[in-house]
């Protein structure tokens, strides 16, 4: 058996009054529950733990087959026995981020003070808050130092934030298809997705729990997302101008092209598996993040001892390589040990989920050399 079989999600709750989690905004939030999964065994001196961070709409179920849902984890090809994150050697932890909707406290959670879902009364959270909340879990597990932290896209931002916020607790970090602040274009794309949700009448200012869901808004926001996760070339290869179930175009506004049908399907399935308010909060957290807001970027890495591997993809236009190169440059200014590679691939931003062969070699070899 090469995969962790029948994994289950665990829960950790902290921040009971008066020890609530203090958010970056100054607002207090508590109690906070984090859903997490672990794979492999924590060794005796607790030195083999690796924290995996998921992307915007991911969850704690990174690997194996889930006991209840029978779903396979979102990074299953990378995590397991003999895989890049080898569960023979390492103890892997993946946490559903704060603000998410897959078991961790977020806008769809019930506010204990009111007995109703938070909705828009949930405080605005940041990448920093997500990282700080996960530090509570790592402390709870008795882990003083992580062997590595890794993630793609939003997960990469969290790994990056951890490296500068808790530099003494992290030996190495693998940042994939990520950046250190969102550009105007990235914020703009998120804003279109948010507006799609918020202009759906069913969104009802975030108060839709137990009622009709803002399905149309969610579908449109997901369609935009999917376009940005692919590249022009991968879309052309996958769909081209192929028609969906017909010989010639219909000269009407029904779906003619396969790509239209694909986006419609992706959009429709999204509303079933994700919470609209969580999408708003998490995308906003991404937009707010800026590692260079208090200092120049180089200043952020002063004294950082973590060893880094940074991976980008040539066709990723959502998180283009130059943003990671800026991070590499800032790290070099501070004598930080960093390796950087831009993998040549057509899969766009999604590459971190599908371009397994190259990433596996890099990750397994890099981890072998972390001492």
């Amino acid at each position: 058996m090469s995969d962790p079989q029948f994994v289950e999600t665990q829960y950790f709750t902290f921040g009971q009054a008066p020890n609530e989690l203090v958010l970056k905004s100054g607002v207090k939030l508590g109690p906070v529950t984090l859903a997490y999964e672990t794979y492999g065994q924590l060794n005796a001196d607790k030195s083999n733990a690796i924290l995996i961070f998921h992307a915007l709409t991911g969850d704690a179920h990174a690997a194996g087959c889930h006991k209840d849902t029978k779903n396979t984890g979102w990074w299953n090809p990378m995590i397991g026995l003999g895989k890049a994150f080898d569960t023979n050697k390492y103890f892997i932890i993946c946490v559903n981020c704060l603000g998410g909707c897959k078991g961790s406290t977020g806008p769809s959670s019930v506010n204990p003070a009111t007995g109703k879902p938070y909705g828009l009364s949930f405080p605005v959270i940041t990448i920093e808050d997500m990282v700080v909340s996960q530090k509570y879990l790592i402390d709870h597990l008795g882990i003083k130092k992580l062997l590595a932290a890794s993630g793609g896209s939003m997960g990469g931002l969290m790994a990056l934030e951890w490296s500068v916020r808790f530099p003494d607790t992290l030996q190495s970090a693998i940042l994939i298809a990520t950046n250190y602040k969102h550009t105007a274009q990235q914020i703009a794309l998120h804003e279109v997705a948010r507006q799609a949700i918020m202009s759906d009448p069913n969104w009802n200012k975030g108060d839709y729990y137990g009622k009709e869901l803002p399905a149309q808004g969610m579908a449109v926001s997901r369609m935009i997302g999917h376009i940005t996760y692919m590249s022009e070339k991968s879309m052309e290869e996958k769909f081209g101008r192929k028609l969906q179930g017909k010989e010639k175009v219909g000269y009407d506004f029904s779906h003619d092209f396969e790509v239209e049908n694909y986006l419609k399907y992706r959009g429709a399935s999204f509303v079933q598996r994700f919470d609209a308010n969580s999408y708003l909060y998490l995308s906003k957290a991404l937009d707010y993040f800026d590692l260079s807001e208090d200092t120049d970027l180089a200043g952020a890495f002063k004294g950082v001892k973590t060893k880094f591997l940074i991976i980008t993809f040539t066709s990723d236009w959502l998180y283009p390589s130059y943003q990671s190169k800026d991070i590499v440059k800032a790290m070099k200014t501070n004598n930080v040990d960093v390796s950087f590679i831009e993998i040549d691939t057509n899969y766009g931003h999604d590459s971190f989920l599908v371009e397994i062969e190259g990433q596996s070699k890099l990750v397994s070899h890099f981890l072998n050399n972390v001492k």
Partner: protein, 197 residues
């Protein structure tokens, strides 16, 4: 595995525990040797994606990029040595790259193929064709080399710019060439520096 002759001489030039940057480090063989045998803090720049995988496997820190633009990332005298072995002839702007290497490194090690060795000269003279030798195995249409220079050319280059050649090592086959170096050697390795103004 026997050590490459050029790596052997470069290793001799580098003091233990140094900070070394290898420009065009390939699969990281030299850097790996420097880490193991000289306890150096070694890192590299390499343009070839496949070579980067090998570097990471060897535990060598490497950045994917081209030499011409990568040196701007480093502050002055960051490295004890900057190595440009078998890569100078492939860069777009060698003059700028050497100046930059001397800025970020206290000393620079340059390894060049000698385009004017006897074999090459004979081929030009008798065959009337651009030479193809063991050290220069390419035809004019597929060579990665953009610059063609000899030992004398490089000496002149340094002299014109007040760059000190601290050591010069000329090699043919597996041996150092003691005399008539520009005629007999296939490669040459220079240890250069610029005295501080």
């Amino acid at each position: 595995m026997t050590m490459r002759i050029d790596h052997k001489y470069i290793l001799e030039m580098i003091k233990p525990d140094s900070r070394v940057l290898d420009l065009g480090c390939g699969d990281g063989e030299l850097l790996s040797l420097l880490m193991k045998q000289k306890n150096c803090h070694a890192s590299g720049i390499e343009i070839d994606e496949k070579a980067i995988y090998k570097c990471v496997e060897r535990g060598v820190s490497v950045s994917h990029g081209d030499i011409d633009s990568s040196l701007a990332d480093y502050s002055d005298k960051r490295f004890d040595y900057v190595v440009l072995n078998e890569s100078l002839q492939e860069v777009l702007d060698p003059e700028k790259v050497i100046a930059e290497a001397l800025r970020v490194g206290k000393k620079v090690i340059v390894g060049i193929p000698n385009f004017c060795n006897l074999n090459a000269r004979l081929q030009i003279f008798f065959l009337g064709r651009v030479p193809v030798t063991q050290g220069l195995p390419y035809k004019w249409y597929n060579t990665p080399n953009l610059r063609f220079l000899s030992i004398k050319d490089f000496r002149d280059f340094c002299a014109e710019r007040s760059i000190t050649i601290e050591r010069e090592c000329a090699i043919a086959g597996q041996q150092e060439v003691p005399f008539a170096r520009n005629l007999f050697s296939e490669i040459a390795i220079f240890l250069i520096s610029r005295s501080s103004k």
